[in-house]
């Protein structure tokens, strides 16, 4: 593999990992607080669609992004109400939301765009950070990325700091591990969990917007194609830690990037097999390689006083 090819591989790995990173960190926060957010997929799709429509209608991708963020919050609120207030089964309700969103966005997409499918939509710009971007070969291929990626990195670092050093982080950890202790210390488990689900929705909306107006500047039906589930898998693979989740997302991103790289290298592997690769990895990760004992103790269980 030449250096050029390697740089392209690295760059596309990071690009493909970005939606997973954004959604995965949000999901991790939610799971640390004890809520399993299966609807992350639906939230991403909602945002991918809403931000695409917003950018197309206004001509401004930034407004599109804002519309995407705003559009996801009701979905996140619905999930929060179902899993905390109504104490519904979190897996079933999440999958229900995903199916609902898939249907709704497909329908709305056909209504709005109709014949103009694959319309070019104004997308978010790329930035090349100083110094890093000037490295020969690597610079443009790896570091010239959509600015949303850099915002995401900043958010991930911020999240890690908040979890480690603040009272909010402590409360989130305790809400997932021993919610009774949170309740008895005078904090509200319900409020913490609502907040975390809404945060997961916010991060998923960035991830969804990255897919449509960040990466390919268009919307296609069901374009998340399981990225939300991969984000959930990366949380498990990463053992509910920021660093681990980031590494898992990068691994899944690299596995996806191989789809485009191996044919370019002339390696003859059936394409379908390569598309399967990240999901296969996720299955191995969830099923066998990591134990479940690392999970927050009350993950998926609604809190009852």
């Amino acid at each position: 593999m030449t250096w050029e090819l390697f740089a392209v591989f690295l760059g596309s790995s990071i690009r493909l990992a970005t939606p997973l990173l954004l959604a995965g960190i949000g999901e991790m926060v939610s799971e640390r607080a004890g809520v399993l957010n299966m609807s992350i997929e639906g939230m991403m799709l909602t945002s991918a669609f809403a931000s695409a429509v917003g950018a197309w209608a206004t001509g401004d991708p930034l407004i599109g992004l804002l519309i995407g963020i705003i559009a996801v919050q009701p979905v996140a609120l619905l999930q929060a109400v179902l899993s905390n207030t109504l104490r519904a089964n979190q897996i079933v309700s999440g999958i229900g939301i995903n199916i609902l969103v898939l249907g709704a966005t497909t329908l709305a997409y056909r209504e709005i765009f109709g014949a103009r499918s694959r319309a070019e939509i104004p997308g978010l710009g790329k930035i090349k950070p100083p110094l890093l971007g000037d490295i020969p070969v690597l610079g443009p291929a790896v570091f010239e990325q959509v600015w949303l990626l850099y915002l995401g990195i900043a958010l991930i670092v911020l999240t890690a700091l908040v979890l480690r050093y603040t009272s909010i982080g402590l409360a989130i950890h305790a809400a997932g591990a021993e919610p009774k202790a949170v309740d008895k210390s005078g904090l509200s488990v319900t409020r913490i969990r609502y907040g975390c689900v809404l945060f997961a929705g916010f991060m998923a909306s960035l991830a969804g917007a990255f897919l449509s107006i960040g990466d390919i500047h268009t919307f296609t039906e069901g374009m998340t194609r399981g990225a939300g589930y991969l984000a959930i898998a990366s949380v498990i693979f990463g053992k509910w830690r920021v660093g681990g989740t980031v590494l898992a997302c990068l691994l899944f991103g690299a596995a996806t990037a191989l789809q485009f790289q191996l044919p370019a290298l002339g390696v003859d592997v059936p394409n379908a097999l390569l598309i399967m690769l990240p999901y296969l990895l996720a299955l191995l990760a969830v099923g066998g390689l990591v134990g479940r004992q690392m999970a927050p103790a009350t993950l998926g269980e609604p809190f009852r006083r």
Partner: protein, 534 residues
């Protein structure tokens, strides 16, 4: 004993007063017309049996529940906490019966939870912990994780969590239930120090030794009502006990009384002629290692003769759960063998073990002892339901008839055999489980783990009666319990488990209490000589 002591009421203004408090859960009155006063600097004990309303009272004070009638006053001002946060804000702190600590967080983080906003100052908190450790005698490593601490240390964390808030009222709900004897002494010492710093301490308990030792005043609850108060508890102890159990101490089963700490453990209590020198249960070198490779049970070897009751003592979590789980077939032993008479039971499934003649009264009756959603009758005959079938269909009338007879024999009180198991009280549930296991047709050995946990005095006595009766029929009995008094009064001989190993064995002689206590705390059997297998 007096109803109220006029002189004291006048001299000290109460910190918190409850006036005719009533609390109902549905149609059940958990508390009715309860009035009491808590004064700064005193240790006020609340005494009562299980279900007398002690915990409900604490939860009202702490704002977990709200009263349906009556009023509370805090420093003379009407007080109705909207929740724990409100109570904490008023300076009321509570150590709950069940710990609420986050196991995978450090001591400091557990203390900080809910106390600080924004960025955490762990160093400052650790310094505060150090000061408390000196002031109250509560040493703790601030950076230790809760899951690595012993039960006594965890309780210290709970206490420190409260004290760091500098409360004016400190409530402890049955804090001594899980502690070793010397840990209890240390805890009472902490209570005394807290009270002498001008705070009011409420200590909920059903152990009289503690009341004698430390209480300034006592309020006795029975059936949700205040039935007695005393400002001189040590002198009034007999009257307080009578009020608590509504009857005569002398009339009480002597073993049950000793468990409550009411009476010394009876000495010459059992006719041991029933013990036949035939080995029934033989456990040989039983070792259990968990998935992490930690040894939970280490080379456990024990023989129980027919008609003999062997007690397994020890603080909970020292291998008792693993021992009973292996004996019941719910867990596979890493090494070792189990025989019942001639038959080898090692590695058999629970069904085969039951068929071989071992009855199991599990420690956690809700998780493994019964099916709470099924009827009482179905639960009593759970392991023999196929005897009540014809062509594969259940003969419900026959089942209910037989179950009704069992209910009478074992004094299980419920609406009827068709009542849902979960509608029964804890004592009646336990009697039903015991009835099922003890009436196994070929019962030769009964393994009973914590069989009286959470039961009131009457139910405790009934459980002991049934265990003794089975032993008189020649059944070998292995009684696992964390209540030393229970073992001393029921068992013939006691082995002590510590970190999965047998630390020693001796006859169940009350005079040996201190030796056994030392072994429970991990000291090897030095002065306990001989008598291992009398």
């Amino acid at each position: 004993m007096s109803t109220t002591s006029g002189i004291e009421t006048a001299s000290v203004e109460p910190l918190l007063s409850l006036e005719a408090i009533t609390k109902r859960f549905g149609s059940f009155a958990a508390l009715s017309d309860v009035s009491l006063e808590l004064r700064p600097g005193e240790i006020h004990c609340i005494l009562g049996e299980n279900g007398a309303g002690k915990s409900t009272l604490c939860n009202l004070i702490f704002g977990v529940h709200r009263p349906d009638g009556g009023a509370m006053r805090f420093r003379g001002v009407p007080f109705q906490p909207s929740g724990p946060a409100d109570a904490l804000g008023h300076g009321i702190a509570m150590v709950h019966q069940h710990f609420s600590l986050v196991p995978d967080m450090t001591v400091v983080d557990n203390v900080l939870l809910g106390r600080e906003r924004g960025v955490l100052n762990r160093r400052q908190c650790a310094a505060q912990l150090e000061k408390l450790a000196v002031d109250y005698g509560l040493p703790l490593d601030p950076d230790a994780k809760i899951e690595d601490l012993s039960v006594g240390e965890r309780q210290r964390v709970e206490i420190v969590k409260c004290l760091i808030r500098d409360p004016s009222l400190f409530v402890l709900d049955e804090p001594t239930a899980v502690l070793l004897p010397d840990e209890i002494a240390a805890l009472l010492d902490v209570c005394r120090r807290v009270a002498s710093s001008g705070r009011a301490v409420v200590l909920v308990t059903h152990k009289l030794a503690e009341i004698k030792k430390i209480a300034d005043r006592v309020t006795v609850l029975r059936g949700g009502r205040v039935v007695a108060t005393s400002a001189t508890p040590a002198a009034d102890i007999d009257a307080l006990v009578r009020a608590m159990i509504q009857g005569n101490v002398e009339a009480l089963d002597s073993s049950a009384a000793s468990v409550l700490g009411l009476a010394p453990v009876p000495r010459a209590r059992r006719d041991r002629s029933a013990i036949v020198k035939t080995e029934a249960l033989q456990i040989d070198g039983l070792t259990v290692r968990d998935s992490q490779g930690v040894t939970r049970l280490d080379n456990f070897t024990l023989t129980v003769d027919r008609g003999e009751i062997v007690g397994v003592a020890g603080v909970e979590g020292n291998g008792q759960s693993e021992l009973t789980a292996v004996l019941s077939g719910m867990m596979a032993a890493t090494e070792g063998r189990i025989h019942l008479g001639e038959a080898e039971l090692t590695g058999l499934a629970p069904k085969a073990i039951t068929a071989a003649g071992i009855g199991i009264v599990p420690e956690d009756r809700h998780a493994v002892g019964c099916v709470t959603g099924m009827s009482l009758a179905e639960n009593i005959y759970l392991n023999r339901l196929d005897e009540f079938t014809r062509f594969g269909f259940l003969k419900r009338s026959a089942l209910q008839r037989e179950a009704a007879a069992m209910m009478q024999r074992f004094d299980v009180r419920a609406r009827g055999p068709a009542a849902t198991f979960s509608s029964l009280s804890g004592g009646n549930q336990q009697k039903a489980v015991l009835a099922r296991e003890i009436t196994l047709p070929n019962l030769t050995c009964l393994v009973a783990a914590q069989p009286t946990r959470g039961l009131d005095v009457g139910a405790v006595a009934a459980v002991y009666d049934h265990i003794r009766a089975a032993s008189a029929r020649g059944v070998a009995i292995l009684l696992v319990s964390s209540e030393l008094d229970e073992l001393l009064s029921v068992a013939d001989r006691i082995v002590v488990l510590y970190r999965g190993r047998i630390m020693g064995a001796c006859a169940a002689d009350p005079a040996r209490r201190e030796d056994i206590g030392a072994m429970m705390a991990g000291h090897a059997q030095e002065h306990v000589q001989g008598n291992v297998h009398a």
